[in-house]
Amino acid sequence: MNAKLTDRIATICFYLIAFLILSVLAILIGFILYQGLHVIDWTFITQPPGSILTGGGGVAPQLFNSFYLLVLTMLITIPIGLGGGIYMAEYAKPGKWTQMIRLSIEVLSSLPSIVVGLFGLLLFVQLTGWGFSLLSGALALSVFNLPLMVRVVEQAISAVPKEQTEASLALGVTHWQTIMKVILPAALPGIITGFILASGRVFGEAAALLFTAGMTSPVLDFTNWDPSSPTSPLNPLRPASTLAVHIWKINSESIVSDASKIAAGSSALLIIGVLIFNLSARFLGQWFYKKLTSTR
């Protein structure tokens, strides 16, 4: 076989693989949207679930919980993840200790989420005495988002050319100022990617939340913004089911008559939510990066 032909065949193969991946994605999203889109209307987005007898209603609390849980999780994950990533990339000296940390991070990121859920049940739900709560859920999610975040931040920082650091240090800028003002802005696109990946896991996670944030949502009063009130949506110590948990629960143990309809609508809503969130995070990140680096 001559080189030209081999090259052509290989090229076609790669195109086919790319096409295959794209079509799987397209079929999946298409199917979910086709099944669920007609269920979604204003009532579905803004109303709580109806009663078992009547069915109907919406998924407003679950939708809110998904995003609120994301915020809580990121409040924990981002500072620690950034700190860990900065430490690993800039301060950790090669050796036994660093290797240990790296190994721990890898083990942590490969833990099955159900195990993290049970661990969260013991530690964040029972030992703390909080019961099923958003905060317990956020802590459990942080447990497996942290390794991802640390790794992505470390890689993003390491990918910033060494010359940038040298230039800054040679000007008499301290190591810390160099990290904050030169390296992190340059590493921002990579960090945003990590943030989006971690967010995706929060939106999609169900197993770890079953035992930590719980499967139910109390009746919420969306006009009550006092975080200490049990009916306030902002209360971090209330139980909360996210959209993903809701889908699982509706499909597996619900007895409402329109269960499949609700599940389909929730799935579609979840996908749309994730898409909008990803796109806007990327867009915001790009905007911020351009502002910091003056590229256009």
Binding site: A167, S168, L171, G172, S294, T295
Partner: protein
């Protein structure tokens, strides 16, 4: 051929700038400087002075320790964990090479320009204003510093309408001049240049060489170069390094015209390197 080449250096030297009859005021004196990378003895017992408002060129074949030595002068070797620098680097009667002294503060007064232009991924303005601002320069001072520094490196007219564009939009030669502007904005007393033109085209190179001759009015300059003609064109003193040793250090004219060491003669006549 050999004597001709030397003769050319000499005439170039005389045409462009005859050896100045200046008094030698020592700006920096390195005494018994050694550098070890792990077990490798990269720079051996160097004794060398930089004189005020003069250009000193470090020449020698690759791996001879000239860049490593240059990086001792502003403590940049501190950033390499395996490197150990011994000896004294005296500036104004103070040894800069002692761990009690803060390397950050020292680097503030000794500017450095690198082989590959390395502007920050920031705007042209920010590239220059960044470090002075951290040292407390006000907004107005920053603005003035930016203009002043860009004027000095001859970049102002080329970029004054796009100060807030990314520095990465500039050409390689412009980027290198921006890096020089960034260094002089800190108002250092010494500027170290580590092969600043090796990544540039001939026109940009000649612009930078002109600039160096201009800058020595205000600063003391040390330049590492691979290019012997460049050393002959712009330097007042030349130090020839070989295998980590300082073989010969003299007025550039003297060193190129009447080298005293056999190794220098061999290098200058192209027998190695």
């Amino acid at each position: 051929m050999t004597s001709q080449a030397v003769f050319q250096f000499q005439t170039a030297q005389e045409n462009i700038h005859p050896l100045p009859q200046m008094e030698q005021v020592t700006q920096l004196e390195a005494k018994q400087v050694n550098v070890f990378y792990g077990s490798k003895h990269a720079v051996k017992d160097i004794h060398l002075s930089l004189y005020k408002n003069s250009v000193t060129a470090f020449i020698g074949p690759s791996g001879c320790g000239k860049s490593t030595f240059l990086r001792c002068l502003n403590r940049m070797n501190d950033t390499i964990p395996s490197a150990k620098v011994t000896g004294e680097i005296m500036i104004d009667g103070i040894n800069m090479n002692q761990s009690e002294l803060n390397a950050t503060q020292i680097r503030r007064h000794i500017g450095m320009v690198f082989q590959k232009p390395n502007p920050f991924m920031k705007s042209i303005f920010e590239n220059i204003a960044f470090a002075p601002r951290l040292y407390g320069a006000s907004k107005a001072e920053c603005k003035q510093l930016v203009e002043e520094s860009l004027q000095k490196v001859g970049l102002w007219d080329e970029v004054k309408d796009r100060l807030h564009h990314s520095a990465l939009e500039l050409s390689g030669g412009q980027q290198q001049r921006l890096c020089i502007a960034r260094a002089i904005a800190m108002k250092p007393s010494i500027i170290l240049l580590d092969e600043p033109t090796s990544a540039l085209d001939p026109i940009s190179t000649s612009k930078i060489e002109q600039l160096i001759l201009e800058l020595k009015k205000d600063f003391t300059i040390a330049i590492v170069t691979h290019n012997m003609q460049q050393a002959a064109r712009i330097s007042d003193y030349t130090a020839f390094f070989y295998m980590g040793d300082l073989i010969e250090f003299n007025h550039t004219n003297q060193l190129f015209h009447q080298p005293s060491q056999q190794a220098t003669i061999d290098y200058l006549t192209g027998r190695f390197g």
